[in-house]
């Protein structure tokens, strides 16, 4: 099915590779690469792109949590970002980490965010320019955000439990094997320390990749509506919580539901299975 970006609820949240190549020197944007492969940026990146490391830059070094608002301000200032800068995120793994970084930026209230449709792989496959040269950006003075929007776009374990008990939409975006409880890690990944397999009771299984096409771009609005609105009971009038293992794949689905389908009440449970699967007293369902 052909994709018509204008049918998305927020088509402005996506940029295409063609557009970005023509705007590499645009002073109002900052291209941000965020990957799972921690050295991928160093091997070559989109000219002018800065690198934000999902762990070293966005996560607190001691507490399992995101950085404090003052650290976020430092991160943005260092990368030449102001509250008016449009940050265009892209990365490997079909933009998992780009969506995760975007979600973290929204957590701190940064509003001007976009995703490069198709991510790093599409850009590279199309033979577009790459460089190893790290951009020299003028430091800015990003104001410390007054609050973090945890309540609005982030869910915690007790909220996921309440969602499960209330039989409200919970979407498990992990692989089918993880959902069923047959495996406790992603295929092709090492075990990451989860004791039990399964899913949160009542969760529907919609692997993140269901939302993308072969070239890593997003499916059309109609296809996404069928998958999420018709397929698993997500509606604008109900809160929805998405989760995976650590919140990165579910950030991808969070982006789809929030920006492409326009739902305002979607939260990402970033504790996800690495918390739930180990949590004392947390109920688990397994299924065939």
């Amino acid at each position: 099915m052909a994709t018509n970006p204008s049918q998305y609820a927020h088509p402005e949240a996506l940029v295409e590779t063609d557009w970005l190549e023509q705007h590499l020197d645009d002073k109002n944007i900052r291209i941000v690469e965020s990957n799972e492969d921690v050295l991928l940026y160093d091997t070559g990146h989109i000219p002018g792109a800065v690198h934000i490391d999902w762990r070293a830059d966005l996560q607190d070094a001691v507490i399992r949590d995101y950085i404090a608002p003052d650290k976020f301000a430092e991160l943005c200032s260092k990368n030449g970002i102001t509250p008016d800068t449009t940050c265009i995120f892209y990365g490997d793994k079909a933009n998992w980490w780009a969506c995760y970084a975007l979600w973290a930026f929204r957590l701190f209230g940064h509003e001007k965010v976009k995703i490069l449709n198709g991510g790093r792989d599409k850009w590279k496959a199309e033979g577009r320019p790459m460089t190893k040269e790290k951009p020299s950006v003028a430091k800015t003075n990003y104001p410390t955000p007054k609050k973090r929007f945890d309540k609005e776009i982030r869910a915690f374990a007790d909220e996921a439990l309440a969602q499960s008990q209330a039989k409200k939409p919970l979407i498990d975006v992990r692989s089918p094997g993880e959902f069923k409880g047959e495996i406790t890690h992603m295929p092709e990944y090492p075990q990451e320390g989860v004791l039990r397999g399964g899913h949160i009771p009542g969760a529907k299984s919609v692997p993140w990749k269901t939302a993308t096409k072969e070239d890593n771009t997003f499916k059309s609005a109609d296809e996404l509506k069928k998958i999420y609105l018709e397929g698993c009971g997500v509606t604008p009038d109900k809160d929805t919580i998405v989760y995976c293992r650590i919140g990165e794949r579910s950030s991808h689905t969070w982006f789809v539901l929030t920006y492409l389908l326009g739902l305002n009440n979607v939260r990402n449970y970033d504790g996800s299975w690495t918390e739930w699967g180990n949590k004392v007293g947390a109920p688990i369902e397994k299924s065939a």
Binding site: D37, V38, L39, L40, D42, T43, A56, P187, P190, E192
Partner: protein
């Protein structure tokens, strides 16, 4: 003397902590500031392709497979020469991560000329000394995977040698 052997300060043969070639690579990385360390890792990763089998090379063992815990297919090829020294070649699929690529080049160079037994006995604690603790994360653990695969093929070779010797005896 084996490339893997070394003498202690008194000139006595001592069990090597690491093979000499690998030791040199470890010391190189430890001497570098963080930025240069990253650049050198990337440089090694770009050389991973040079570790692929070359035309005409023959191997006693070839082990090409896609495992659950690695992103893509990894091939390990072992040649043990007439002096009992191992020479490793490797092939990596396109999805293999940068650190894993770098470790492939480092190990193929650093272990070249060791005996299969020396490779099997090699401790793995040098990995963090090369890449630095910052880069070794849960999702980067596949850097150990390459070492595991190299040790695996050496172990198979040793087992076959032992079995062959037992038959002769």
């Amino acid at each position: 003397m084996s490339d893997c052997g070394k003498l202690d300060e008194l000139g006595n043969a001592a069990p090597p902590e690491y093979p000499d070639k690998l030791n040199k690579i470890i010391h190189l990385f430890e001497s570098l500031p963080e930025e240069e360390r990253r650049e050198t890792i990337v440089s090694y990763s770009e050389n991973a392709k040079k570790q692929e089998p070359r035309p005409g090379e023959k191997f006693q063992l070839e082990d090409v497979r896609k495992d659950e815990e690695c992103m893509d297919t990894v091939g390990v090829y072992l040649h043990v020469d007439e002096n009992g020294k191992a020479h490793i070649r490797m092939t990596l699929g396109p999805e293999v991560q940068t650190l894993t690529r770098a470790m492939t080049a480092i190990l193929c160079k650093g272990l070249d000329g060791c005996t299969p037994q020396e490779i099997v006995d090699l401790p793995s604690d040098f990995v963090t000394r090369i890449v630095g603790a910052e880069l070794v994360r849960v999702r980067s653990q596949t850097i150990y995977y390459v070492l595991t695969r190299i040790k695996g093929i050496c172990r198979v070779w040793l087992n076959r040698q032992r079995a062959a010797q037992a038959q002769v005896a």
